[in-house]
Symmetry: C2
C-alpha cells in the first residue's frame, strides 16, 4: 500500500514549527507495512492544497492529511475536501453528539463556531477525536483511502493510533495478504561499529527479516522488520532474530520501542524497593531531571545534589579537600567519593555521581574536554569508570547522563560495564 503524507500549514513551511507530525505518521504507517512515497508541506492556500490532493490521490492508495481542520478562517482543509470529492456539508449527528459531550465534560457552553464543526462532508465518515473538537475525516472512494486529521499532535496521535493504524493494518492484511511486524531493540554503551561486529554474519542472523541501525547520542536503536503471510509467522521471525541478537549483545539492550533508560531503571528500583540519590557536577542536574520525569519517581528517587563548586562537594558530600587538590575535581577518586558521599548523607541504597569537563572550554592537555568520571556505590561496592566524549557541551551532557544511567542499570542487573 503506497501512501503520501500531506501537512497543511504556513507555520510549518516557514519553520516556526518542526514537522513532527509527519515523522510520527511515517513511523507508525511504515510499522504496519505502508510504503511512504512522499511527504509534502503546503501553505494554507486553496489551490496549493487542491493540487496536492490531486497529485497524492493519483499516485497513491492512501493519503494522510494533517492540519487546517480547526474552526477558524484559515482552516481550509474541510472546504478543500468537499470540493475535491465533489460532495457537500451536512450535519453529522454522531459528530454533534461528540461535540456536546466534549463541552459538557469541560463544563463549557458550546458556541456557534463549534457547532459548525458538526457540518461534515456527506461522503465521509468521522474519526472520533477524544481529545479535541475537530473530528477526523475518513473517505473511501475508487478503492483509495483519504484520511484528514487535526494538526494538534496530541489529538492527531491518539486518532492515528486508536483508529487509523488498526484499520490500515487490517486492510493491508486483507488486500495484500501480508503482515508486517516491527520491533526496536534499544542499546546503549556500545558504538555502532562494535555492535555490528558482535552480531557476526548478518545474513545468517536475519534470515528473511530486515534490520537497520539508528545511532544517536543516547545509543543505537536496532530496528527489526518481518513481513509474512501471517501475523504469527512474522512474530516468530522477529522473536527468532531477537533471541539471536540477545545471545550476542543482550547486555547492551535496555528496552524496546518507546522505552526509556530511566524507565527501565525506575522499574527495577521500584520492584526491588530500592532508592537512589545523585551527585552531579558536569551534568548540572540532568540526571536527576531524567529520573524525575516519570510519575511516581518519589518512590525510588530520594534526592540529588548538583555540586558545581568544590565547596559544595566538600560540604554536601564530604569529599576530601586534599583529594580535590591532589587529583583534581575531575578524577576517578572524587567521583567515587561523591557517590559514596551522596549515598551516606541520604541513606539510600545507591549513590550515583558524575564529574567531568563538558566544554567547549575548560580542558587541558591532561584533562581534555569530554573527559568524564562516573561513580556508583551501594552497600557492597564502590567504583568509578572513565569516559571520553566529544566537544559539544549539550551532547556531552546527554551522553554523560545516558552513560551514568546505564551504569546504574548494569549495576542493578549484575552486568559488568565496558564493551
Amino acid at each position: 500500500m503506497k501512501a503520501q503524507i500531506i501537512t497543511i500549514g504556513d507555520e510549518i513551511l516557514i519553520g516556526q514549527i518542526i514537522n513532527s507530525n509527519a515523522a510520527f505518521i511515517g513511523n507508525k504507517l511504515s510499522d504496519v507495512g505502508v510504503e511512504i512515497t512522499k511527504s509534502t508541506v503546503v501553505p494554507d492556500e486553496y489551490n496549493a492544497v487542491m493540487n496536492e490532493f490531486k497529485f497524492a490521490t493519483e499516485n497513491n492508495d492512501l493519503v494522510l492529511v494533517t492540519g487546517g481542520l480547526g474552526p477558524t478562517h484559515d482552516d481550509i482543509t474541510k472546504k478543500c475536501i468537499v470540493d475535491f470529492f465533489d460532495t457537500e456539508l451536512v450535519e453529522n449527528k454522531e459528530v454533534m453528539e461528540d461535540l456536546k459531550t466534549f463541552f459538557v465534560s469541560k463544563g463549557r457552553e458550546i458556541i456557534e463556531l463549534n457547532k459548525e464543526q458538526a457540518m461534515f462532508p456527506k461522503i465521509a465518515r468521522p474519526i472520533r477525536n477524544s481529545r479535541g473538537t475537530a473530528p477526523g475525516i475518513l473517505i473511501e472512494k475508487d478503492r483509495k483511502i483519504f484520511v484528514a486529521m487535526p494538526g494538534v499532535p496530541f489529538e492527531m496521535k491518539e486518532m492515528l493510533l486508536s483508529t487509523v493504524v488498526p484499520k490500515l493494518r487490517d486492510m493491508i492484511v486483507e488486500k495484500e495478504k501480508k503482515f508486517t511486524v516491527r520491533k526496536n531493540l534499544l542499546t546503549t554503551g556500545i558504538p555502532e561499529s562494535v555492535l555490528y561486529q558482535k552480531l557476526g554474519d548478518i545474513n545468517e542472523l536475519l534470515g528473511d527479516a530486515k534490520m537497520a541501525f539508528l545511532p544517536s547520542q543516547f545509543g543505537v536503536r536496532i530496528r527489526l522488520t518481518a513481513i509474512s503471510e501471517s501475523e504469527e509467522k512474522a512474530n516468530e521471525m522477529i522473536l527468532e532474530v531477537e533471541q539471536k541478537i540477545r545471545s550476542k549483545a543482550g547486555r547492551y539492550i535496555f528496552g524496546k520501542d518507546d522505552d526509556t533508560l530511566e524507565g527501565a531503571i525506575a522499574k527495577i528500583l521500584t520492584d526491588r524497593d530500592l532508592k537512589i540519590a545523585t551527585a552531579e557536577s558536569c551534568t548540572g542536574g540532568l540526571i536527576a531531571n531524567r529520573l524525575t520525569n516519570l510519575s511516581g519517581s518519589s518512590k525510588y528517587f530520594e534526592r540529588g545534589v548538583v555540586t558545581y563548586s568544590n565547596a559544595a562537594k566538600v560540604e554536601l558530600l564530604k569529599v576530601d579537600e586534599d583529594t580535590i587538590m591532589e587529583k583534581g575535581a575531575v578524577s576517578r577518586e572524587v567521583a567515587m567519593q561523591m557517590a559514596e558521599g551522596v549515598k551516606a548523607v541520604s541513606g539510600v541504597d545507591i549513590g550515583l555521581s558524575v564529574t567531568g569537563i563538558m566544554g567547549p572550554t575548560g580542558g587541558t592537555d591532561e584533562k581534555p574536554v569530554g573527559l568524564v568520571y562516573i561513580g556508583i556505590c551501594d552497600e557492597k561496592v564502590c567504583t568509578a569508570e572513565e569516559f571520553h566524549f566529544g566537544n559539544d557541551r549539550l551532547l556531552n551532557k546527554d551522553r554523560t547522563s545516558q552513560a551514568a544511567l546505564e551504569m546504574v542499570r548494569r549495576h542493578l542487573l549484575g552486568i559488568p560495564y565496558g564493551e
Copy 2:
C-alpha cells in the same frame, strides 16, 4: 522570490528522523523575504528525485535541496543533478584542495571514495563545506537558482548561513528592490491574550510592519517583519514597533531571536558578579540543568539541590519539619524556607526554590495537579509566588522552570512579578 525545499532521504519519510533541516531552512529563508511555496520529502530514488526537481524548478525561482550528497551508494543527489541539468562531472580543483585540507586537518589519509567527491557538475559552483567532505552545489540557470547541500544538519546550517543566505539576501535586494528585516521579541510570564490586550490598537502599533504571536510552554514569541526598499528603512520600522511594544509590555521581554532566558540571567549574574543556588523539588533538577547549559556557568552557579524527600528538605535546607507537617511540602511557607535555606547553606547571593505537584497523579482537591510555589531570597527580601499550571508532567516541569527563571530575572532587574 518563490522557493521550494526538497529533502531527500528514506529515513525522514519513515520518521526515523524528524525533518529539522526543512524547518531551519524555511525559517532562515523567510527571514530574508523568500516565500516558501512548498516543502517536500522524497525517497532516495532516482525517478522520485528527478520528478521533484522538475516540479520545483518549474514553479519556483529558487530550489533548495538537502540530503543524498555523501560518498555512499544511496547518495544519488549528484547523479540526479548531472542528468537533470544535462551536464557532466569534471574534477573541480577547488573542491579537491578543500578535501585535501580537510583530511590533513583531521590527520587522516584521503581515500578513493572521498576523491570522487571532487568530481563535480561542470555547470555548478561549489559551496565550501567547512565542517565535512561534501561540498554544496550551486547552479544558476535560466534566471533560476538551484542549491544542494548535505543532509548533516551541522554541515548544512553552516553552509546556509555563511554562503546561501547572504547571497539570496543580496539577490532579493537587487532584483526585487526590497529589504526584509525580521526580529523576534521573546516574552514570558504573560498569556497570549493578555499580551495582545496590553498592546492596544494593533494597526496603530504596527504601521506597515507585520507581527505574529507564537506561544509555547516557555512564553510567547512576538515575530516582527518589516519590508522596505532600503535596509535602513526596514530597520527603522522594526525599531519603531519594538519601542512601542517595549513601552507597553517591556517588562515581559527577556530577549530576542535565539536568546534564552537562562542566557539572559547568566549575563546579569556574571556582570554583577553574583552567584545563585537552587533548591528544586518538583522540577527534579531541570532548573539547575538549564542554568548549567551555558559554558562558563560555574561563574554564577554555585550548587543545586534536588530535595525530593521531606528528609532532604529538612537536612539540606533546614526546612522546619513542623512547617512541612502543618502546611504541606507544597506550600508558600516551605518554598520560602527552601530558598532561604539553599542561600544560607551555600553562601550565595540568591537562593531559588520550587515545590509543586507535576502530575499526572498526586493532586488533591485542596492542592490540585499543577499547583506550584516558587521562592526567591536574597540578602534583603524573601518571597514566594503561587502558580497554577496544567496536567501534563513534562510540560509542567518546563513551565515551572521557566517561571522560576523569570522570577530571578525580574528580581535582578527590579521588575515586580505578576501581570
